[in-house]
Point group: C2
Chain length 292, copies 2
């Protein structure tokens, strides 16, 4: 274990979207802007900023266009800092294009049961929705990231087999998705199943295109990260302050905290480029706003 | 990693001693008795019950003789359930003998600075104190467990090199110590240093006699456990509810929680014999008493 530690990893900060989406208190657009600017200042380079969903669906994220406008007007070196946004449909993609996103994220799951509760579509139906969005995004030079939820377990007893995961990855890659985030939606993963999934994934896919998205419900996020790292994964999703959870999955706690990830990576000799002190201040700041 | 998962591990529950010692609120002897009986009922088999220190030193543990009396009068299968107690000197050993302990624990550290603050003795002086205690205990058929604190870092800048650890282990083994608990007193350990220490330890010692004692200050306890397991360690200290910390080491949070350890081990296929539901109830119960 840890015999071949990669010299570089990529952290995808999902706090502003996946994190805030699941927090009750609505932040002002300026607070979100400050949050993201703080993340950038701490050294975070990949940020999922928001979601271009239908307005009433997720009240926290309805200000996505305004937030992107502020970010686009700010002094940010966009050769280094990459912004993404969740896009559920072609209408959302149109707004995303105007928002100058570097990447869009599309969503599905291994479990029909979960997918139906989450986006009111079976897995196959969700792929049907994703297809035209991907096509158009790629035509416009926008990369596509695909989320696969419930890959390590479904709260509604749905499918989370390796076979289904592989099939889904294959379908997403064929559609044109360039990075796949394999999600442990409710923190059910454990190191052996993580390793099993990844060993199978790497038979068919370049692991440089696969991210792991762990939740820390059972305090297992870091051991799962270590297991994934050991199998060759170098892209990890996390959210500053461990924000988030999942409104469609009872009992899910937040994403693994970015500051925990950074601390862990640095401790085992992986340079993250993130200033942990600054990051902790940003995380504490947003948590204190949310709990005020 | 995790290629050779052991079929059996040993969990040493240190909550009643190491855990409670560092909690401000003093439990009644009956509450401690109930705590220990609950642990036994949940399937825990090795328990560090208390400490036979000079009475005013650690107020929480002055009732050690009464607590052992209650345990000795209770219906407990002592072929299966093993009790230990911390013993600092010959006077303590005399009381321990009367208390029918299966094992005593003695204490030292890699760091002179820490040892002086903790037990007012340099490392060498502490070994001088341990020697007669060990001799007498072994003469009486009582096993001796040796704690080595600050093995992964000292809050006062003292020594925590592998060389010093190896030398200390050697000295303890020569004195007659049959199990050594290598302590990450303030949660400074990380997987690479854990692996380095253990790789060196196994060149000279049977790993079946070496335990790891991790604190969770930086959320690194479980990754350290996984790293240690990967190197062949099968004995782990923990405390129910993550009780404890270290009064002589500022900033140290509690021991890794036994319920976290059990959950982790079971998830990777190691049978612990512990009923997690029962254990969680016991842990919650003692935490609610402490916070009341």
């Amino acid at each position: 274990m840890l015999e071949n530690i990669p010299s570089k990893i990529k952290i995808v900060e999902v706090g502003p979207r996946d994190g805030l989406q699941n927090e009750k208190k609505i932040l002002t657009t300026d607070q979100k802007f400050q949050f993201i600017m703080g993340l950038i200042d701490s050294g975070i380079t990949s940020i999922e900023v928001s979601s271009f969903v239908r307005a009433p669906k997720i009240p926290q994220l309805v200000d996505a266009p305004e937030l992107f406008k502020m970010l686009n007007e700010a002094k940010i070196d966009r050769r280094k800092i990459k912004f993404s946004a969740l896009v559920p449909n072609l209408k959302g993609l149109e707004v995303a294009k105007g928002a100058n996103v570097d990447e869009i994220a599309v969503f599905t799951a291994t479990s029909d049961e979960f997918n139906k509760k989450n986006i009111n579509a079976s897995v196959d139906e969700s792929l049907g929705r994703i297809l035209p969005v991907c096509k158009e995004a790629i035509n416009c030079g926008i990369k596509v990231r695909g989320y696969i939820s419930t890959a390590f377990g479904c709260p509604y007893g749905g499918d989370s087999s390796t076979e289904t995961l592989l099939k889904l990855c294959d379908q997403l890659v064929k559609i044109g998705v360039s990075e796949i985030s394999v999600g442990d939606t409710i923190g059910m993963a454990s190191p052996l199943i993580v390793k099993k999934h990844i060993r199978n994934l790497k038979k068919h896919f370049d692991l440089k295109t696969i991210a792991m998205h762990f939740h820390d419900t059972n305090n297992m996020a870091l051991v799962n990260v270590m297991a994934a790292l050991d199998e060759g994964i170098t892209i990890f999703d996390s959210s500053a302050g461990g924000l988030g959870g999942c409104p469609y999955a009872k009992g899910a706690s937040g994403n693994v905290a970015t500051e925990q990830l950074v601390f862990f990576f640095e401790q085992i000799g992986i340079k993250t480029g993130v200033n942990l002190t600054k990051l902790k201040i940003v995380a504490e700041s947003v948590k204190s706003i949310l709990s005020a």
